[in-house]
Symmetry: D2
Subunit: 132 residues, 4 copies
């Protein structure tokens, strides 16, 4: 099942489908889930993971909101999407830096996911600046 | 990037990984995104789609919560997961029935997604009953 | 600003306003916020609070969904609301029991909030059974 | 039950409690609920409310994330909070302008709530700029 195909089914999208934005929606959805899972796994580690819990919690909430807001295609609201993508870039960069400090497999996977999400959000933001 | 692989990275999971539950987490994540997108597409249709908007909105919120809660593996909380899976089965059945009434491609896709999510939640719930 | 007054402003509510359900919406909204804050405060404590983090995280997500789903008044969807209230009762009872074990002020406050949320969800569920 | 008192219960807050930020958390929580309810009420109106549904949906999701992220006090993450407050200001301004166009009581109430949320987020952002 594809969220990108679903966006194309919107009655007003047609030829205006923005693939960079669709990619950001898809990876923000994954990143929200991965960061949520990393919070849970961090809380079960023996060492103090409180900073990682904080940064993954914030990234998860913000990515989830990106996956909902940026998937909508009724009446644009592009100023909001652009600002939210900027916030997501900040949150995922910080989360990736923190997770990269820890050797355990869930933090390494989360750091990789966050870096990919940053790249996609940057590309989506740039595609919207060109369109404006 | 795989949410199922991420769950296996949890320090306490090891041999206890429940694939039926992992599958439910993954598809609830997709279903939350598809239903959210269907709400948006329905609001752009010319006809009255208010009942579909309602049922997709509820299914989206509940699926999103399943994808977060059922992904956690620290200290179980299995009674909560089981009850939430039951709620998700109810919400997605009702949403699938409503979406199936509409010929547009986004509702047809959403109905299919909701039926798959019901199947996965049923399988996950049954796997937890056996385990108990 | 009152969420209960807002629900009364819905074009279809009128004389059918259910105050027990409105009360559950309001307190589930608060409980979601209190539990989210308790997760954060628990992660900053010196002792192992992983079980409390888990149970508060689940209760927060579920309460947030109650506050969104049970506030809607377009086309009922009462079977979903009733099932979700049951899940919220389970999640908040378990969270209240866990938080009550800890002497710190945030857990004591969270336990109290969860017990109030359980009472409100029970009253709301019973009001819907009578109405059915 | 007070989310502001709850934030003060965090083990690391003490004298550093920021009341402007606490106020923004509280009103973003309310605004998320009011906007979610406005989406539902708009979908039940006879006229085309699709633009209002879109803008309230986005504002609700973003306010909800503010109420979760900005309530956390473990390890700061202030760059993320500041960026998210900016996004919330954009989303709530746009939502208030759209809702203000409609005479029905739910849109009038939602416009008022969004304007208050903008004021609180501006004050919270400014308090964090001074602190930096």
């Amino acid at each position: 099942m594809s969220i990108k195909e679903m966006i194309k089914d919107h009655p007003a999208v047609g030829a205006d489908y923005n693939d960079a934005l669709g990619e950001a929606v898809k990876h923000a959805m994954y990143c929200a889930a991965i960061c949520n899972s990393c919070v849970d796994a961090c809380s079960a580690e023996d060492m103090d993971m409180s900073e990682c819990i904080r940064k993954c919690s914030d990234a998860s909430d913000i990515c989830q909101t990106v996956s909902r807001v940026a998937a909508r295609r009724t009446h644009g609201n592009t100023a909001v999407i652009k600002s939210l993508l900027e916030t997501c870039i900040v949150a995922c960069k910080i989360c990736a830096e923190e997770c990269a400090k820890h050797d355990n497999p869930h933090c390494q996977r989360c750091a990789k996911m966050c870096r990919e999400c940053v790249e996609d959000c940057v590309a989506a933001r740039d595609s919207m600046l060109e369109a404006a």
